[in-house]
């Protein structure tokens, strides 16, 4: 208790110095948490993937479609429980800044494969009844103020022309990691228009989504699917949904790596600042530490004082930084529109932030505490703070 009293009073001895050091740690820990959350958001799609869903696409490139006729053959393959499909639409809502994913999907099967998209049954029925209907995520609806019955115009880029859709359903996510910024509409609506405009491009899909019985058989079933279509006009590449999502992430891996590096650099910098603060404080108190040793206190007591002071400063500031991460993350994502579909500060991020604060406090105290512990008493008594 006496040690704690000394630690707290020493920490508050130079209030301005301590306050500024803590402010630096708060900002550093906050920035670290925010950057780690950005990295998590990058991987959100992959992390939310189901291990019982496979994605089959054209083996050459995702840009090339697959014939819709593959569906029936896929259904025959042992281990596949259900088959659906989707086409990337890539339209523009008002202007290019309003980016969000748009998929033309098989309305009868798609949402059964994605139970994490929670749709009210009557809304799903309304969607199924309306060929022009669309299902939008809650985040999109809130962002653009869409309500049931609203007509949403999209300007096609891959499929040129002006398209109109009617909001028939708004889906919510089953949990916070579910992406609720996606726009779905009926594949038949798209296919009819393509048939009129570009008949040779009709009756093709971007990807097939396969639901399998057992996650352990994913590799085996994927091989079977690809073997089925080997040497055909459109050979397939089948992989788990997670691997498919990670394929997109890998295209921007350099950016993710840079963000990770910056997040750790921020911690390293504040560690140096904190180390300087503790070094200054210890230098000023060398004669006090020598007096304590002269009285009979062991070097371990000095280590306790210095580490204790450093850790209290770092952990209190780190905790504040963690708490501030939540409102700052909310503000950040509110200003980035749909750039990050899922942006949650995870418990792992909070643990990493607290861990970083602990490391800052510990590392900053190492050199000053060793110096104080090792310094000779007579030499320390001569020191001028």
């Amino acid at each position: 208790m006496y040690a704690l009293k000394l630690i707290l009073r020493n920490a508050l001895r130079h209030k301005l110095r301590t306050a500024l050091t803590m402010l630096g740690i708060v900002i550093a820990v906050l920035a670290f948490g925010l950057l780690q959350t950005v990295v998590d958001a990058w991987y959100a799609g992959a992390n939310a993937a189901s291990d019982k869903r496979l994605i089959t696409r054209n083996a050459i490139s995702l840009v090339f479609p697959l014939p819709i006729s593959y569906r029936d053959r896929l259904r025959q393959i042992d281990g596949i429980k259900s088959v659906s499909f989707a086409n990337w639409f890539g339209g523009v809502y008002i202007n290019e800044r309003n980016f969000f994913p748009q998929f033309a999907v098989d309305p009868q099967t798609y949402f059964a494969l994605y139970p994490e998209y929670k749709i009210a049954p009557e809304q799903l029925k309304a969607f199924l009844r309306d060929r022009r209907g669309c299902v939008v995520g809650r985040k999109l609806a809130n962002l653009y103020g869409w309500k049931l019955g609203d007509v949403i115009p999209l300007r096609g880029t891959i499929y040129t022309g002006n398209w109109e859709f009617v909001v028939r359903a708004i889906y919510d996510g089953r949990d916070t990691s579910t992406d609720t910024a996606i726009f779905f509409f009926q594949w038949d609506y798209l296919n009819e228009a393509i048939n009129r405009m570009y008949p040779r491009r009709a009756n093709s899909v971007g990807v097939f989504v396969l639901q399998i019985d057992e996650a352990d058989r994913a590799a085996e079933i994927a091989r079977k699917v690809d073997a089925t279509f080997k040497n055909s006009l459109a050979e397939t590449l089948t992989e788990t949904e997670k691997a498919f999502q990670l394929g997109f992430v890998s295209m921007t891996e350099a950016i993710v790596l840079a963000i990770r590096i910056v997040s750790f650099l921020v911690i390293f910098i504040i560690m140096a600042v904190m180390a300087n603060t503790m070094a200054m404080s210890t230098r000023e108190r060398l004669s006090e530490y020598a007096t304590l040793k002269a009285i009979g206190f062991r070097p371990g007591f000095l280590l306790l004082l210095i580490f204790g002071e450093s850790l209290i400063i770092a952990l209190i500031a780190g905790t504040v930084g963690c708490l501030l991460t939540f409102p700052v993350a909310r503000t950040f994502v509110a200003h980035t529109g749909t750039l990050f579909h899922v942006f949650n500060v995870s418990s792992q991020t909070i643990l990493m932030q607290l861990g970083a604060a602990f490391v800052i406090g510990t590392v900053a105290a190492v050199v000053p505490s060793l110096r104080a512990a090792r310094q000779g008493i007579a030499e320390g008594l001569r020191a001028i703070g």
């Binding site: 020493n10 004669s287 007096t291 002269a294 009285i295 009979g296 062991r298 008493i377 007579a378």
Partner: protein, 235 residues
């Protein structure tokens, strides 16, 4: 009279780069229990070094040093620290109080190394502060005390564990004349009334007169002809 400090052929050198600088050379000195000894000498004569060796906060390079019959140079660091906590009270020129602790808490510090309960510690501290005339300043911080008051708090801290020896390094060096006289008077009372062995380093003739014996050091060597036994002048 019992000899409490016995130094034989004591030497101390410090390494300054490649050079070995001798500070004390072949010191032979006996200090009796209950004695009030002043170590005098010009700056750099080694008097503080000798005091540090006797107090166990530095180690000799050669020779033997027995305090209370114990060869303190042979003790390990932790054993030496434990010995200091029990046997030595320190009075420094600049008081060396912890500024974040009150007078009470500063005096209580050495007692934290004892098995005394909190209540027992409080009783001891109150007694020590009363002895130095600062009972009403117990909860003041050092910054709220004058130099003389701070030195009296330091003296209370030095005597709180009832040590065998009090070592004082220029205890009046930072005080005005009146405060210095008060401090020396207090030290004199500790010696005459409580029988404390006091070893004091000073370059102040007035302070030296409070002691019963004055020993002179010059260039690290005891001046045999200057080992004097003088009657203490009470202030």
């Amino acid at each position: 009279m019992t000899v409490i400090v016995e130094a034989r052929h004591l030497s101390k050198s410090y390494r300054r780069g490649e050079q070995l600088v001798p500070v004390l050379t072949d010191i032979n000195l006996d200090i009796a229990e209950g004695e009030f000894l002043a170590l005098m000498g010009p700056s750099g004569s080694g008097k503080s070094t000798l005091l540090n060796l006797i107090a166990g906060i530095d180690r000799p390079s050669a020779g033997s040093l027995r305090v209370q019959g114990l060869d303190i140079a042979a003790l390990s660091e932790s054993a030496l620290a434990a010995w200091r906590a029990a046997a030595v009270g320190f009075i420094f020129q600049f008081y060396n109080l912890l500024p974040v602790l009150t007078a009470f808490e500063n005096v209580e510090l050495p007692l934290l190394l004892t098995p005394l309960t909190r209540r027992e510690r409080r009783e001891h501290v109150e007694l020590a502060l009363a002895m130095v005339g600062l009972a009403d300043r117990a909860h003041h911080y050092p910054s709220e005390l004058s130099g003389g008051q701070q030195q009296r708090v330091a003296i209370a801290r030095a005597i709180i564990t009832d040590p065998a020896i009090l070592v004082a390094d220029e205890p009046t060096g930072d005080l005005d004349r009146v405060s210095a006289a008060d401090v020396l008077s207090l030290m004199n009372r500790l010696n005459t009334d409580l029988g404390k062995t006091i070893i004091m380093v000073t370059h102040d003739q007035r302070a030296a007169r409070a002691a019963r014996r004055i020993v002179h050091l010059d260039k690290g060597v005891l001046s045999d002809s200057d080992v004097e036994v003088e009657t203490a002048v009470s202030h």
